[in-house]
């Protein structure tokens, strides 16, 4: 489960709410605090996943550019 305490999540959730509210005007402000705490716990997890993605092996740089999805299965890439 989340390694953060509720207090830590609430602290983070304030910043999360501020940032997200700028992106989703008004809607985020309407959410109850427990929603934001859950969202913050998810956010902590997502940060880890994004870091993993950004640290993907350099060999990916040499990979072919992704083909348009309409062709992705046809060529057996």
């Amino acid at each position: 489960m989340s390694h953060d305490t509720d207090a830590e999540l609430d602290l983070g959730a304030g910043a999360l709410m501020e940032h997200a509210a700028g992106l989703i005007p008004d809607a985020v402000r309407a959410l109850p605090p427990e929603n934001m705490r859950e969202a913050m716990a998810f956010h902590r997890w997502l940060e880890g996943r994004l870091a993993e993605l950004r640290a993907a092996p350099l060999s990916f740089v040499d990979a072919d550019l992704p083909e348009p999805l309409i062709r992705r299965a046809q060529g057996g890439a």
Binding site: P25, L31, A39, L46, F60
Partner: protein, 466 residues
């Protein structure tokens, strides 16, 4: 003799063909079953009883006239993110609670053209993501205290509670296979692009699939035959040249099945690993050869899947995001909020990795006809659990839910979930069989052979929650 509502697709068609039962009798039997068990289970969101009886009467006429179509008179249900003309399609959401489409999704049109009889629209987690729908929880028929899994929750429960012989679900990160595994159904995520998604609420267009759920691989195949093929209305639709495999159908001699222990076996309850062992034993008993393979970057596929889902979900819901308070369940809201934090760079990096992962998958199929991996890492968790517990350790919901699923959405490979016995508390566990793109019949043939050799798929809940 079994009651009509207990019979599968092939069994019903045989009775219709021989005149021992009629489509109207079958429709009425299923409607009576729904009436008896669904008020508690809540798999059916919108019942189409009158239309179903009318359609069944037409099927009856066709059987008598010698004009029966491939699924003539077979009752079924559609996950409620699949549009149906004149029938409410909610997407499991409050935002679309009164939405009545003017046109049906291609898959609904195809099934009607094949003679199948629509009984109702089935529960889905909201927009095929997150937690339960706004229309009440759907109960696991094996144990009402356990989750059903989703997002095709109503489809799995309706099939396994014997309310109907098959249903259609969708799968973006496991949403056909997860509830199938938690409820003991047989569910196929077809090859990417093989089944039209036209008229289906999207979750993530790069990963969405539409597919059949039933109580046997043979029945899944009958349904797949009716919905397989290119659709000009779906720009991602692909016309695969063939999907079969050679063989005599009786044994699996000469068939090579790969087992990949990277990633897929890292976090499993012992009983989930035992399920793989049981199926592997059945495969070798039938003459197949098992080979160990490696998929070096399988560990990245769950991350790739999540990033793509969040980014595409944000784009798809941009017009309704301002109504965030109308999205239900904490899970959905946390996804919607966090979707705002996946940048274009992350999304493009995730997309860029797809052909890399596909290439590794193709390497598997240079040495094997199919791939066997675990199903879900655990049995269905308790409703009160916030995440998963594996070998005594707790994990976040999102760490585990798609962990063994995502690889197949990212690669697009056809993947069939089948039951393979029980874990703790008598709850179903299962495995997944995958094959090269377009070779869906390979999964289905292997599973049909396994199911002819074993009886896991015939097991039903001793008594439904009452």
């Amino acid at each position: 003799m079994a009651e009509l509502h207990e019979l599968g697709v092939a069994e019903l068609l045989a009775l219709f063909r021989s005149g021992q039962a009629s489509p109207v009798e079958a429709a009425n039997a299923c409607l009576a079953r729904i009436d008896a068990v669904d008020p508690r289970l809540n798999a059916v969101l919108t019942l189409c009883a009158d239309q179903a009886v009318d359609a069944a009467a037409e099927s009856e006429r066709r059987w008598l006239a010698g004009e029966a179509r491939p699924l003539e008179g077979v009752p079924f249900g559609l996950k409620d993110i699949i549009k149906t003309a004149g029938i409410r399609t909610t997407g499991g959401s409050l935002i679309y609670k009164d939405y009545v489409p003017q046109e049906s999704a291609t898959v609904a049109v195809q099934l009607a053209a094949a003679g199948a009889v629509l009984l109702g629209k089935l529960q889905t987690m909201e927009f095929a993501m997150g937690g339960n729908s706004h229309y009440g929880p759907t109960l696991n028929p094996w144990n009402a205290d356990r989750v059903t899994g989703g997002s095709s929750s109503g489809s799995a429960v309706a099939v396994m509670a014997e309310e109907m012989p098959f249903a259609i679900g969708t799968d973006t990160g496991g949403s056909i296979r997860i509830p199938s595994l938690f409820c003991g159904a047989t569910g196929l995520k077809p090859s990417f692009g093989a089944v039209s998604r036209n008229g289906v609420f999207p979750l993530a267009w790069t990963l969405d699939h539409v597919g059949p759920m039933a109580r046997s691989a043979a029945d899944v195949k009958l349904v797949l035959d009716a919905i397989w093929g290119p659709d000009p209305a779906d720009p991602y639709s692909i016309g695969y040249p063939a999907r079969g495999m050679s063989g005599d159908g009786e044994t699996l001699a000469g068939v090579r099945v790969a087992i990949c222990r990277d990633w897929f076996f890292d976090l499993l309850e012992p009983y989930a690993e035992d399920a793989v062992t049981r199926v592997a034993t059945a495969l070798t008993d039938l003459g197949a050869e098992l080979v160990e393979v490696s998929i070096p970057h399988a560990f990245l596929t769950d991350t790739i899947c999540w990033v793509i889902i969040l980014a595409e979900m944000a784009a798809l819901h941009a017009d309704t995001m301002y109504r965030l308070q109308d999205y239900g369940e904490i899970v959905t809201r946390q996804l919607m909020v966090n979707a705002q934090f996946v940048g274009a760079g992350d999304y493009l990096r995730a997309l860029r990795m797809i052909p890399v992962i596909q290439r590794e998958a193709n390497d598997v199929f240079r040495t094997a006809d199919a791939l066997l991996v675990p199903g879900m890492p655990t049995i269905a968790p308790q409703l009160t659990e916030e995440g998963f517990t594996i070998r005594g350790s707790s994990y976040l919901w999102q760490e585990i839910i798609s962990r063994t699923m995502s690889f197949f959405n990212v690669t697009g490979l056809p993947t069939l979930a089948i039951p393979a016995g029980h874990g703790d508390d008598g709850l179903p566990v299962g495995v997944q069989l995958a094959a090269p793109l377009g070779a869906d019949d390979v999964c289905l043939r292997l599973a049909a052979a396994i199911q002819a050799h074993t009886s896991y798929h015939r097991e039903r809940p001793a008594s439904l929650p009452g």
